[in-house]
Amino acid sequence: MSISTYRALPQEIRQIQAKMEEIAAGYGLDFFETIFEMLDYEELSMFAAYGGFPVRYPHWRFGAEFDELMKGYTYGLQKIYEMVINTDPCYAYLLNCNSLTDQKLVIAHVYGHCDFFKNNAWFSKTNRRMLDQMANHAARINRYIDRFGHEAVEEFIDACLSVDDLIDPYAPHMGKPGDKKTSTLDGKSQAEPVEIDRRFATKDYLDSYVNPPALIEQQQQREREALQRKLASHSFPDQPQRDVLQFVIEHGQLRDWQRDVLSIIRDEAYYFAPQGQTKIMNEGWASYWHSTIMTRHGLTDAELIDYAEHHSGTMATSPTRLNPYKLGIELFRDIEERWNKGRFGSEWESCEDFETRQNWDTGAGRGREKIFEVRRVHNDITFIDTFLTEDFCRQQKLFSFAYNQEQKSYEIVSREFAAIKSQLLRSLTNFGRPIIRVQDGNYQNRGDLYLVHQYEGVELKLDEAQDTLRNLHKLWGRSVYLESVFDDQKTLISFDGHSHLREVLSVNDDSSRTFIITN
């Protein structure tokens, strides 16, 4: 099964690599050993389709991805310049037909990524030997294919992939995922209701005002009742669970091989999650460094124009799509400048005089130090939340836009800082995907699965949601429900293996209408 694409790097590339590595290390970048390989476009597309790995389990979607990359390249629409994967040692793939200028840029860029992979906290829990892990996954799935047939395994993988984004990306950082005991079927150990203290901390003499005893008592009563109801209905888990995959692995009606396949898909989803969480930072950081290294060390006079063209192509923006490379590099530069000039802290924040702000420079000189710290601790959400400033929004001409249902088109909504920031944060939350939790794994005491979509103003696509439920049904083995909002009404959609149901949930829950949608 294993293939080898290894060929020795040409002399001049090896020299460039050695030089770039030295410069990067000189700036304090800290990376695993990085191994570069040269590939032709077909090979590079293959690696890209496989998410950077040479051996993956057989699945048609890799073929589809590959087909698209190859077409895009053939028609001259797109081109991948490089790929880096987060492993130790780091593997990076270069496109062999790139010009030497491009190779320099790309190698410098790659060292930025490698440093980020190694040092950013959100990558700290990823498996650095994923190359082996992926090959192991492939071997396991191939074994199942031999035993249970290609069709059966493929169909099951399709179903798994349909819900592979229903994981909890923060779980790896809160102890081992799935550590929490979720099963309460024995009931007794959980029978003691846990009293949660809802009181606000305050001074003694204010306590009865801040925490009115009657209200507190009422609250506790409600909670106790809710818990009793829950116990009486044999529903679990206690708290809604984000990691739907884990829940299905533990409680779904699966055969052993299916359970294993699902856990493979889940492992891989967790491996790739941090890359989604840090897209803006990771690309911004790598761009910051290729730009810094190239403009100060790498370029010869003759290469300047080529470099400038390539760099500006990477930084290009379009009105409806925020370019993570651009946003990332500009934010890092902005942070560097602010910390160099001392534009932070309460004194800076409270200063409202335009002239003073404009000329503010305390000579703090802490920019470089600050951005290294930022790349260590932040992810995209905290990065934007902490460092996106009003001045920055204005400089970058950011705006927020929204879909106008009447006009059937997107429109600029606002250039207000607060609106832009909240919109940006919202679209980064959970990678812009809906957040869905398991509410009940024993709905109506029938062993049905009840999911709840955390509605934040954007509705789900109904037809696709129904197709997804159909796939989830294959995993769970019994009816599946999803509570969400459709056509501005709280709605419950479900699939029982034969037909889709859609039920409008009214607020007081007693006059619900039901109608069946044909499948």
Partner: protein, 367 residues
């Protein structure tokens, strides 16, 4: 190097083909495909292949962008609903387009409509010639010298004449020993076919009608091309007089005035006589009209059909499309002929979905 990706790519293509096959009926009745036709392939948009996820729709969605513009300014409709992915800053899920070769498409069409393979009219007269290097000659250029045979002949001669010395095995071929590879010409009978498309372009035929014709013609082309090696197409339009035009003009031209179908028959007959000897060619005639012929002309038309066209054509198909003025009488005039001439097929195309049946009617005869 066989790569894993080849396996996945093959599997993907199989799935796509399965999907196209399943939805062929839908594709047949839509004219979406026409604009996507390359020389040998058609690019087909396939939906429902990607793996579904819980995703946000457009309603209530938004994002952040950068650039000039005031609040309220439109940024365009975005991608179509089923192409829209996450809000704004992520690439959307889009409909995949896959390329299917015309041959494969024809095969699927054949399976779907259960079309019989066409048995070409016995015309062996037209032959194609092909050279095959499968013989030996005494003369030829050095580049074609057959070394092994030349060597053997030289060896034989030397042994026969006693000049061969096993301890010093030197073999020197002379001019007489040298042989060359040579070719023979193979004649292959080839069935040739010509399609005539005849369309009424009088004032009553609107764009909608022409589109129906165009879609139908696309599928006829696809099928017949898969059945014949050398397929030629001729286009004739008519109102009260007939002209031969090229394909592009055929679908665009718009005339006004009356309708004399016989003028087109006469024109077709003329072209046939000049260019396509009956014994060598399989002749297909497809006529589309809204059926509003000029009353006196019908007699003449039937005459043309009976005496000149039906006797020589493999197939004569008349498709009557419904125009805004309703469907005409002409199909009723022709129906008595259907009894005696089994190569005459009549079909009514009153809307898009009828295209499917129409193609089955036309091509289901196996002629």
């Amino acid at each position: 190097m066989t790569q894993n990706i080849d396996r996945d790519l093959r599997r993907f293509r199989d799935i796509v083909k399965g999907n196209v096959r399943e939805n062929l009926k839908k594709y047949i009745t839509q004219d979406e495909m026409l604009g996507r036709r390359g020389r040998e392939t058609v690019s087909i948009p396939v939906s429902n292949i990607d793996i579904p996820h819980f995703r946000h729709g457009k309603k209530g969605s938004g994002g952040t962008g950068s650039g000039e513009g005031q609040p309220g300014q439109s940024l365009g409709p975005g991608e179509p609903e089923n192409g829209q992915g996450e809000a704004g800053n992520q690439p959307g899920r889009h409909i995949r387009e896959v390329e299917v070769s015309l041959d494969e498409l024809a095969q699927m069409l054949g399976e779907q409509l259960e079309l019989p393979r066409i048995v070409p009219k016995g015309s062996d007269a037209l032959e194609s010639q092909k050279d095959r290097y499968n013989s030996i000659s005494q003369v030829g250029p050095d580049s074609l010298r057959h070394f092994k045979r030349t060597y053997k002949r030289a060896l034989k001669r030397q042994i026969a004449t006693g000049k061969y010395d096993p301890s010093q095995p030197i073999v020197v071929p002379t001019k007489d020993d040298t042989v060359y590879k040579s070719w023979t010409t193979i004649r292959q009978p080839q069935a040739n076919a010509v399609i005539f498309y005849i369309m009424d372009v009088s004032g009553s035929m609107g764009d909608e009608q022409k589109q129906l014709v165009r879609t139908t013609a696309f599928w006829i082309d696809t099928w017949l091309s898969s059945q014949y090696k050398g397929l030629q197409k001729r286009y004739v339009v008519h109102d009260a007089v007939a002209h031969e035009v090229d394909e592009d003009t055929f679908y665009r031209v718009r005339e006004s005035g009356g309708t004399r179908i016989s003028s087109a028959y006469e024109r077709v007959h003329q072209i046939l006589q000049n260019h396509y000897p009956v014994q060598d060619w399989n002749v297909y005639l497809f006529q589309f009209s809204d059926g509003d012929n000029w009353g006196d002309d019908n007699e003449l038309c039937l005459n043309w059909l009976k005496t000149s066209l039906l006797p020589i054509a493999n197939l004569f198909c008349y498709g009557q499309v419904e125009s805004q003025f309703g469907s005409g009488e002409y199909v009723r005039e022709l129906s008595p002929l259907e009894e005696e001439h089994e190569n005459l097929v009549l079909s009514l195309i009153d809307n898009r979905s009828a295209i499917y049946e129409c193609i089955r009617d036309f091509l289901g005869t196996g002629r």
